[in-house]
C-alpha cells in the first residue's frame, strides 16, 4: 500500500463542481479541500441545496469534479488502473439514505451483502454464504434473513443490510448519506450505536442535515451553505461554540425548535457575495464579497472574524439569547429520566 505519509485514505484536492455553463452555471460545490485520515471521522452538515450530497458523490467518483481531483493513494480516481480502482472500491464504501431504493429488489439478502466482497474477487459460492452469515451476525440480524428479499424487511432492517454490505469488503472509509433520516426515532438509536461500535476500525464521512447524528459519529465537522464550507473544525468545538451565523442558527434550532434568526429572505445573494447575506442578522457592507477562511484548526468564512482573532472568539448573539444552550438541551430531553 502506497498511502501518503499523513495516513490519508482519500483526499479531495480543491474539488469543485459546477453544473451548466456561462450565465446558467450553477456552482454546487465551491473548491474544497478535505482529507480523510484513519480514525478521524468527518461530518458534513447543511440543508438541501448546500452541496453536501454533491460533495459526497464527488468523493465516491459518481460525479466528475469540474475543478481539482479526488485522490486515492495519491492518484486522481479518474486515472486509476483497473486493479487500483478495484482496491479503491473495496476501501471506500457508502451507505445511502433510502435503503429501499439502494438495494436491488431482486437479489436475496445474502447476495446483496456479499456483492462488494465478491466483486473485488476471490470468493467461492460457499465462502460467500459463510461471509453472509458472519455479516448478518455483525449487524445483529438473524441468519434466516439471508434468503429473504429486501421488501420483506423493515426500514431499520434494510439499513442494517446496507451497512453489512458496505463493510463486507473490509473498507477503511465508509461514506454515510443521511444514514438514519428515513428511519423512525425508535430505531435510529440502534443504527447509530451499530455505527459507533465500528467507529474504532472504520472512518466515516457522515453527510446529514441532522447535527445530533453528526455529534454522535464524527470528530471533525464541515458546515456547508450553498456550495461554500462556511465553517470547519473539531465537531465538539463547533457544536459548543458555533462561529458562523448560519452554524449558530443550525445549532440553536436543535436546542430550541422555535428558535428564529428573524431573517428568511426571498432575495438571492449577488454574485461573489456571501450566500448567507440576505438571511444573516449581522450582514454588513463588506459581505458583498465572500471572505477567505479565518483560523487554523477551527476555520470560519465570515467578516465578523479577522485573522487577528484568537481561535475561541465567537461573535454575534449567543444562539439562545441569554439562556444557556446546554441547560436547555437537558431540559428538552432529560425529563424522562
Amino acid at each position: 500500500m502506497n498511502l501518503a505519509a499523513d495516513d490519508a485514505i482519500l483526499t479531495a484536492d480543491a474539488i469543485g463542481k459546477t453544473f451548466g455553463r456561462g450565465t446558467r452555471a450553477n456552482v454546487a460545490v465551491q473548491p474544497t479541500n478535505v482529507s480523510f485520515r484513519r480514525g478521524r471521522s468527518i461530518g458534513i452538515a447543511g440543508e438541501s441545496g448546500s452541496g453536501k450530497s454533491t460533495l459526497l458523490r464527488l468523493l465516491l467518483g459518481l460525479e466528475a469534479p469540474t475543478a481539482g481531483a479526488v485522490r486515492f493513494e495519491g492518484m486522481p480516481i479518474a486515472s486509476l488502473t483497473r486493479a487500483e480502482h478495484r482496491r479503491y472500491r473495496a476501501t471506500v464504501q457508502a451507505v445511502f439514505q433510502d435503503p429501499g431504493g439502494s438495494l436491488d429488489p431482486r437479489l436475496h439478502i445474502w447476495q446483496l451483502i456479499t456483492e462488494p466482497a465478491w466483486a473485488t474477487g476471490g470468493l467461492t459460492r460457499r465462502s460467500r454464504r459463510e461471509l453472509a452469515a458472519r455479516l448478518l451476525h455483525e449487524v445483529d440480524l438473524p441468519e434466516r434473513f439471508a434468503d429473504r428479499l429486501p421488501h420483506q424487511l423493515s426500514g431499520g432492517e434494510r439499513q442494517r443490510v446496507a451497512i453489512a454490505r458496505a463493510v463486507s469488503s473490509s473498507p477503511q472509509l465508509v461514506l454515510l448519506d443521511e444514514p438514519v433520516t428515513s428511519l423512525d426515532v425508535s430505531v435510529r438509536g440502534a443504527i447509530i450505536n451499530l455505527l459507533a461500535d465500528r467507529g474504532a476500525e472504520l472512518t466515516y464521512a457522515v453527510v446529514s442535515h441532522d447535527l445530533t447524528v453528526i455529534a454522535h459519529l464524527t470528530d471533525e465537522l464541515l458546515i456547508m451553505y450553498q456550495g461554500f464550507v462556511v465553517e470547519r473544525g473539531p465537531t465538539d468545538a463547533i457544536l459548543d461554540a458555533p462561529r458562523h451565523p448560519y452554524s449558530q442558527a443550525l445549532v440553536a434550532a436543535v436546542h430550541d425548535p422555535l428558535h428564529d434568526t428573524g431573517y428568511d429572505s426571498d432575495v438571492p445573494a449577488g454574485a461573489g457575495a456571501c450566500p448567507f447575506i440576505n438571511r444573516c442578522p449581522f450582514a454588513m457592507e463588506q459581505c458583498v464579497v465572500m471572505p477567505d477562511p479565518v483560523g487554523q484548526i477551527h476555520q470560519v468564512r465570515c467578516h465578523l472574524y479577522s485573522p487577528d482573532d484568537g481561535e475561541d472568539t465567537t461573535r454575534g448573539a449567543p444562539p439562545l439569547g441569554s439562556s444557556d444552550p446546554i441547560a436547555s438541551t437537558v431540559n428538552v430531553t432529560g425529563a424522562h429520566q
Partner: protein, 339 residues
C-alpha cells in the same frame, strides 16, 4: 362574511361542553391483499376551539390516517369502520361530498409536509393564495387581491406585489411553506391540520415556520392539529398531545405532563431515544427500543413484544384506559406510574 373569527369570541367558544372536534371510538380499516388491516383502533379525543393539539407517532402509528379521516380523504381501500367524528356541532363521518367540499378549505385548512408538491407549479403564487377566499365568496376579486398582497407582506415577503406574480419554483422551500400556511388560514377556518409541516424544511427555518403557525393561530383563534414524529417540535408548540402507536392512542394529556412524567412505557421509551447534543451524552450509547421478535397479537396491545413493562395480559386483550390525572390517561396494563 365578517371578521367572525377574532380572538374576542374565543373565550365564550371555549366553554366546557362545546368542543370544536370530537372523535369517539374511531376505527379505520383498510382492505389489502393480505386481508383487512386496522389502521386506527378505537381513538377518542376532543379539541377545544383555539387549542394546539399534537399527535405524535412513528410511521405506521396511524397519525396521518386520523387527519385523512377527519378530512374524509381516506384512500379508496380504507374506510371508517366504527365511531363518530363531530366537527363544529355536525357529524362529518357520514357527511356527503357537497357538505365536505364546504368544510375542506373553508372550515378546515391544511398544511402538507411538502410545499413543493402542495402548490401548483404552473400557477402564480397570488391566485393560489387567494383561491379559497374566492371560491368560498370571501370578498370581491379586488378585495381578494388586496388581501393577498397584505398577507404576503405579513408572511415576510419583501415585495408582495412581485411575489404574488411569481411561480412556486422561484421561491425557496421556506418561503413556499409559508405560502402554504397562508393558504391554510386563508378562508378563516376553525381548524388547521398541519401534517409534518417542517419535516421538508432546513432546520434553521423550522422555528420561523412554527412561530408563523402559532402567530396565525393566535390572531385568528383557529385550533391547530399538528401531526409530527418530532418530539422536540411537539413539546415546543402543543397544549395537548396524543401519542399513537400501531393505530392506538397509548397516551393522551397536557403536553407538559406527558413529557415531564410519561405514563405509557412507549412514550417513555420514545422520549429516551431522542438523540441529544449535550456534551456529556454525545458519545454515549443511545437508548433504543428493542425490535419485536414475535408479532403482537391483534387483540392485544400493539406495543407488546417491544415493551419492557410487558405482562401476560398485554397479548390477550386490548389495554384498559387508566386515568393518571383528570385530563391525562394511558392505555396500558402496567403503566410507568399509578394515578
Amino acid at each position: 362574511m365578517t371578521a367572525s373569527t377574532t380572538t374576542s369570541d374565543v373565550p365564550a367558544a371555549t366553554a366546557p361542553g362545546d368542543p370544536l372536534l370530537q372523535i369517539s371510538n374511531l376505527s379505520v380499516e383498510a382492505s389489502t391483499s393480505a386481508g383487512t388491516v386496522r389502521l386506527v383502533d378505537g381513538l377518542d379525543f376532543e379539541m377545544r376551539r383555539g387549542e394546539v393539539r399534537a399527535i405524535v407517532g412513528e410511521s405506521g402509528s396511524g397519525k396521518s390516517t386520523v387527519c385523512l379521516a377527519i378530512l374524509r380523504l381516506l384512500a379508496e381501500n380504507a374506510r371508517i369502520s366504527s365511531g363518530t367524528i363531530t366537527f363544529d356541532g355536525e357529524r362529518i363521518d357520514d357527511a356527503r361530498e357537497p357538505a365536505l367540499r364546504q368544510m375542506r378549505g373553508r372550515k378546515i385548512g391544511i398544511v402538507f409536509q411538502d410545499p413543493l408538491s402542495a402548490l401548483d407549479p404552473v400557477r402564480r403564487i397570488g391566485p393560489q393564495l387567494g383561491e379559497a377566499r374566492r371560491v368560498h365568496g370571501l370578498g370581491s376579486r379586488g378585495q381578494v387581491a388586496g388581501w393577498v398582497r397584505e398577507t404576503l407582506g405579513s408572511l415576510g415577503f419583501s415585495n408582495p406585489a412581485r411575489s404574488a406574480r411569481s411561480f412556486p419554483n422561484m421561491l425557496s422551500g421556506g418561503m413556499r411553506q409559508r405560502v402554504c400556511v397562508g393558504i391554510a388560514f386563508s378562508a378563516e377556518p376553525k381548524l388547521v391540520i398541519a401534517d409534518e409541516p417542517t419535516t421538508a424544511l432546513d432546520v434553521s427555518l423550522q422555528g420561523r415556520l412554527l412561530r408563523l403557525l402559532l402567530a396565525r393561530r393566535e390572531a385568528s383563534g383557529t385550533a391547530v392539529l399538528l401531526v409530527s414524529h418530532d418530539v422536540a417540535v411537539v413539546r415546543a408548540v402543543a397544549d395537548r398531545v396524543t401519542v399513537m402507536f400501531g393505530g392506538m392512542a397509548l397516551e393522551e394529556g397536557p403536553a407538559a405532563d406527558v413529557f415531564a412524567a410519561p405514563g405509557s412505557p412507549y412514550t417513555a421509551a420514545l422520549l429516551a431515544s431522542v438523540p441529544t447534543m449535550s456534551p456529556e451524552r454525545r458519545r454515549a450509547r443511545m437508548s433504543t427500543i428493542p425490535v419485536a421478535t414475535v408479532a403482537p397479537s391483534p387483540s392485544g396491545c400493539p406495543f407488546a413484544g417491544r415493551c419492557r413493562r410487558e405482562v401476560d395480559a398485554c397479548r390477550q386483550a386490548p389495554p384498559p384506559t387508566v386515568w393518571l390525572a383528570p385530563a391525562h390517561h394511558v392505555r396500558c396494563f402496567n403503566p410507568e406510574r399509578q394515578p
